[in-house]
Each structure stands twice: as C-alpha cells, then as structure tokens.
C-alpha cells in the first residue's frame, strides 16, 4: 500500500447525498480478478452515455476536474455493498482523499486498506471545502495527514479527526496482515482456549 502523508490537488465537487457503491463502480465491472484498471469505469453510468461517449456535464469529465485527486461529497458517501472495487476505482482514477460529512462503514474501512484518506467533517466545514472545489483549477486544497489539517485555497485551515492506528498505518503504508501475523502466538492461544470452551465451533 502506498503511503499517505500530504496531498495538494484539485478537488471535485459531488454534492449528491447517498452516493452508493453501484454509482461508484457498477456491478458489470466487478467481474475482474484484478485490482487495477477500474479508473476508466469510475462512476460509469453517470460519466458515460449508452454509446460510450462522455456526459459533458459530469464533474470528472469537465476539463478542470480530469486530474482531481480529492472528492468532496454529499452525506453518506459509499453506502451499499462491500465491494472494494469502489476504492480501487477511485484510486486508479487518481483520487486519494474523499471529504464528506459521513461515510458508510465498510467503504470507510476499505479506503484505509488502499491508501485513500476518507475525511469526516462537520457540515459547515465540508461545505467550505465544497465551495473551494466548485472553483475548479483555481483552488487547490491541501491535506496534511500528520497535522490532521486541511488548508483551503484562501489559507483557511480546517482540522479533522482520524483514528490514531489507521493514521499510523496510512502514514507508513503498513500491511495489516504482516502486523497481525506478529501476534500469531496470541491467536494460537485463543484457538486452544476456544477449542475447549466452544468445541463445536
């Protein structure tokens, strides 16, 4: 997993509430057995017409946002299925940070496993980011994970919360499985205890 330390980039505004995982990456693209290559189909049904041509109004098709690295979204982003294809598609497109007032639980977890930082902000702060995002290439937003701070284009700063363990893993690009396997003896001990307490499991 790539580290996430600081990010300075264009933010794309998506004020719609309840943007679900079927919108982020429709099911026909879940048939892949790879993690890469999904960026071209990110938001596929909103982004392309039936004949495959681009919908010009869609935010990521507008010249200012084609290289967006940040999404600022409406409430409850990522609701729906557990598909990790959603963060894979965002990452493959180049999005490394999503800002909203709330995220669906599984999507939120999945982001951290892929080097994407989901930031939860109070509504007013999210709206301030949204205003900046709407200014397109005229406004770059800076995200500093170490300092837990967003800097808007006018220099205004917004603090954000993040779980210390997840922050640590993201800053250092750590592999969860390797870390858990260091606790193998604790897992062994649990299993032998469980084998006598709950032999039917």
């Amino acid at each position: 997993m790539d580290k996430f330390t600081t990010l300075s980039g264009i933010a794309a505004p998506m004020p719609l509430v309840n943007i679900d995982t079927d919108m982020i990456i429709p099911k026909q693209f879940l048939k892949t057995i790879k993690r890469e290559g999904l960026g071209v189909n990110l938001f596929d049904e909103m982004r392309y017409r039936d004949d495959g041509s681009e919908v010009p109004d869609f935010v990521l098709n507008q010249p200012a946002y084609r290289d967006a690295q940040i999404l600022v979204a409406g409430d409850n982003f990522g609701c729906g299925s557990s598909r990790e294809h959603a963060p894979w598609a965002l990452l493959d497109f180049g999005i490394r940070c999503v800002i909203s007032t709330s995220f669906a639980d599984i999507f939120y977890n999945n982001c951290f496993k892929n080097g994407i930082l989901p930031i939860v902000l109070p509504e007013a702060d999210r709206d301030a980011c949204m205003e900046d995002a709407e200014r397109g290439a005229n406004a770059r937003i800076e995200v500093d994970l170490e300092a837990q701070q967003i800097t808007l284009s006018d220099g205004r700063t917004i603090p954000f919360e993040v779980d210390p363990w997840r922050k640590h893993c993201l800053l250092n690009g750590l592999d969860d499985i390797g870390l858990t396997l260091e606790k193998a003896s604790a897992i062994d001990a649990f299993e032998s205890r469980a084998a006598s307490d709950r032999p039917w499991v």
């Binding site: 048939k31 990790e84 709330s102 999945n110 363990w165 499985i177 604790a186």
Partner: protein, 471 residues
C-alpha cells in the same frame, strides 16, 4: 460484573488482543467466501507465500455470477463471469475449503446456505466479503460484511482488526397487522432512521413483534441492517432458533449440542445494559410498504402517494428530484397506480422457503398480468423443498419462470437484468440507480406484495387480495 448487551458478550468472547487505543484483534469463527470479492484476496495470499489459516472454518460458494436458467450445466457464457467462478473453484480446491460448487444441490446464495447447512450458529463471529452478511445476525451471531483486503486478512490470520461499534436497540412492540411481514418491518425501520441512521452502530432488534417472527423472517430483518447503515444486526437466540438449527449438517451434535445450548442460553442483552441509541416502533403502526425512489430509505405505505422534492430538506431535496426523474414518477401520483413490467422474487433478503410460501399463497389459481415474472430460490435445497410442497407448480401455473438458485436479478451480475426504463417489483434489498440493470427501475417490497403486483400489473396493497381471508 457490569451489564452487557448481546453484542458486548459476543465481542468479549472473541477478543484475541486489545491495543491501548481500543483497537482489537477479533477472532472469526466462520468465513464465507463467494466468487466476486475473493479472487484478489487469494492472489494476495499467493504473492506473499501465505496459506489459509483455518480452511475448515471457511465456506465457499459461487452465487453472484451463476446463471439461473435450467440449462446452466452447459456453463457460463460471459467470459469474465466464467473466469471468476473458475477462479473460486480453483482457490477452494487448492486451499481445501468447504465448497459448494454450482453442481451441488446445496449451492445457493451464500447467506442462505450458511444457516441452511448449520454453519451459522449463535454467538459466532461471521464475516464475508458481502454487505448482506448481516443476515446471519438473526441467529444471535455477530456477522458483517468486509472488503477484499479484509477477506485476505481473515484467510491468512482468521482474525480481523476492529474497533467496537456502539450499541443500538430497535424495538418493535406489539403485533403486526394482517398482510404485514418481516420485510415491512425492516424497510419501515430504514424509512424511519435513514440509510445512515445506523452508521457506527450494531443494531439489536427486539420486542414482541420480532420474537413472533420465524427464523426466516428474522433473517429478512437482519439482512437489511446494512441498508440502515449499521455494521451488523442481531436478534437474541431462542427456542425457535434452536429448533431451526437442531439436526442441520454442521450444527453441533450430542454432548457438544448440550454444551453449546448452555452457552447460547446466556446470549441476550442484560436488563440494565447501556444503549447508545434506541428506536421504538409499534408493530401495529407498520403497514405493507414499497419504495418509490432510489435509496432504501425512500419507503412509504402502499396506500401513500409519490412525494415531491419539496417535502424534504437539505441534500435530500436534490436527491429526491434525481430519484423521481430516474424512476419516471410524478409527485402526488398514487403508489398503487404505478404499473409494473416485471416481478422478481428471490435474493438473500427474501429467497427462503417461507418467502416462496407467502408469494405462492397469493398466486394460487391466479395468472400474472406483467410482462415477465421470475422466482429464483435462494438455494438448491429451497428449490427442492418448494417443488415438494407444490409451490413450484403454483408459480409456473401463474406464469412465473421457475429458476435455479443464485443472486440473480438482485444485482444483475448474471444475465438476469432489467432493460432501461423497465419497472420491477422486487423482493431484494437495493433500489439504487442501475442496480438491477442500467436504467432499470426497482420498487422494493415483501414477497406477498410482489406476488400481488404480479397479479394486478401495478403496485398493489396485498390486503385488497386477501380481504376476508385470515392472515
């Protein structure tokens, strides 16, 4: 000892390690695996030279991509789908997992076959790379969906890194009125709390109306906990749970059963347990409901009318406008005037024997008035039982297609899809844009309501068809 909720008790029994900041390593008793969210995880294991730690606790089944037509033995036409199912087959055999291939009569939707074969038991921790894993909570098991990276983590370590969620109680008091089902309960709860109302929580459903539900109905309720944003839904086990489990292939036997029962009997929320959030709904206030929009929270009684965007506030105004446009509906239109093209009965929400019985009861001796209607049993065993009970004949006589088991048109990864503009009465769980096929329009409802819509060709209050009949 301080009083605990059911969630607290299951959690505490599975903590392998707790860090100072409260991050826990949680032991996983059962890991369910399907073909869509697992190939990258197995690939990750191979690349790191890792194995599956507990193959005996890992259960694999293809369900999302499999065709449900009767000729499916000839193979999967779509190349990508076929490769994905073949990858699961290879992985299941190579790593020695418990495996139900397409050719096995026990194959079916992962959340239906887990309980059916006795893999799902009270007090367990159960995960799957699928958000509807919450279904298994109906047995008093802590069950939730995970992403593919976490699937790989569980395969390699049989544990999951987790922080505890908060406790939410959803109490359904009193009794349901005739024509009202488990599906109406779970949709009504989401209609009340919203799709983010449960975010950060594990829900325990309780109250007289929940106790009165069958185990199948409880699975329907817990299945959609995720649509309410919750990590998991739980219902404390009771005599109905034990009666369901006893004798199932992988349920404990003999002395193990007695020992298990002794522990299961402790699995309830203590009277003084702390709840971070409580929602109470009177069972009598719940009506047969349908969804009108493109979010599962867009729920109204069938007697209602299509709302207007101005009826909402904040970001929901724009979302409602978009939904109405997508769904092709006009504010003020009676819900019962909405004409239906297609009926889909099935899914992990409502693909069990009880669901098929409820639909068949309405359809008996009637003919469909829609363009197409299909029943997709949740598993090969459900299908077999429905045939033995004569339900399959009722469906076929009415004009329904009688399919083989799979996820089918719930998410339309296989050929069972809606066309643009096609309007469907569905017993599944999501009405998102494009969910059942690009441009397809989904109305969620109970199996009885879907059957009623099939007969009249429009969204219909099932009580109109059962008037004078004892429910």
């Amino acid at each position: 000892m301080s009083p605990k909720t059911l969630y607290d008790k299951i959690w505490d029994a599975h903590v392998v390690h707790e860090a100072e900041d409260g991050t826990c390593l949680l032991y996983i008793d059962r890991h369910l695996v399907h073909e869509v969210t697992s190939p990258q995880a197995f690939e990750g294991l191979r690349m790191a030279g890792r194995g599956v730690r507990a193959p005996e606790k890992t259960i694999a089944v293809p369900d999302h991509n499999v065709p449900t037509t009767l000729d499916r033995a000839k193979g999967i036409e779509n190349e990508e789908s076929r490769i994905q199912v073949e990858a699961l087959d290879r992985n299941a055999r190579e790593f020695g997992l418990n495996y139900y291939p397409v050719s096995d009569v026990r194959q079916g939707i992962v959340h239906i076959i887990g309980p059916e074969n006795g893999w799902t038991l009270p007090g367990m921790t159960i995960v799957c790379g699928d958000s509807h894993t919450a279904t298994h909570g109906a047995f008093g098991a802590l069950a939730h969906g995970i992403g593919t990276s976490e699937v790989e983590h569980v395969l390699a370590t049989q544990t999951l890194i987790q922080k505890k969620s908060k406790n939410m109680k959803v109490e359904i008091t009193g009794q349901l009125r005739p024509g009202v089902t488990a599906k109406d309960i779970t949709l009504s709860v989401i209609g009340r709390t919203g799709t983010a109302g449960g975010t950060g929580y594990v829900i325990e459903y309780c109250g007289e109306a929940i106790r009165a539900l069958s185990v199948e109905g409880r699975m329907t309720v817990c299945n959609m906990a995720i649509e309410g944003g919750a990590r998991a839904g739980l219902i404390a086990p009771d005599e109905k749970t034990y009666a369901y489990l006893k004798g199932r292939e992988h349920a404990p036997k003999g002395a193990d059963w007695d020992k298990a029962m002794a522990w299961w009997a402790t699995l309830f929320s203590d009277e003084d347990a702390h709840w971070d959030k409580v929602v109470t709904i009177a069972g009598e206030d719940i009506a047969p409901v349908v969804t009108w929009g493109t979010s599962p929270e867009d729920v109204l009684p069938i007697t209602g009318t299509v709302p207007a965007p101005e009826d909402f506030t904040g970001g929901k105004v724009g979302a409602a406008k978009r939904s109405l446009d997508y769904m092709g509906l006009t504010p003020g239109q009676k819900l019962s005037d909405i004409e239906i093209d297609t009926v889909f009965i099935g899914s992990c929400t409502n693909g069990r024997i009880e669901d098929l019985r409820a639909a068949a009861e309405i359809l008996k001796g009637k003919k469909i008035a829609v363009k197409r209607a299909m029943v997709v049993p949740g598993s090969g065993l459900v299908r077999k039982q429905a045939e033995e009970e004569g339900l399959a004949q009722i469906f076929q006589d009415a004009g329904f297609e009688w399919r083989l088991a799979g996820c089918s048109m719930c998410l339309a990864m296989n050929p069972d899809q809606l066309s643009p503009g096609e309007r469907c009465a569905a017993t599944s769980n999501r009405n998102f844009e494009g969910r059942q096929g690009r441009g397809g329009r989904t109305h969620l409802m109970s199996p009885a309501m879907a059957a009623a819509a099939a007969i009249t060709g429009r969204l219909t209050d099932v009580r109109e068809l059962t008037a004078g009949v004892d429910a």
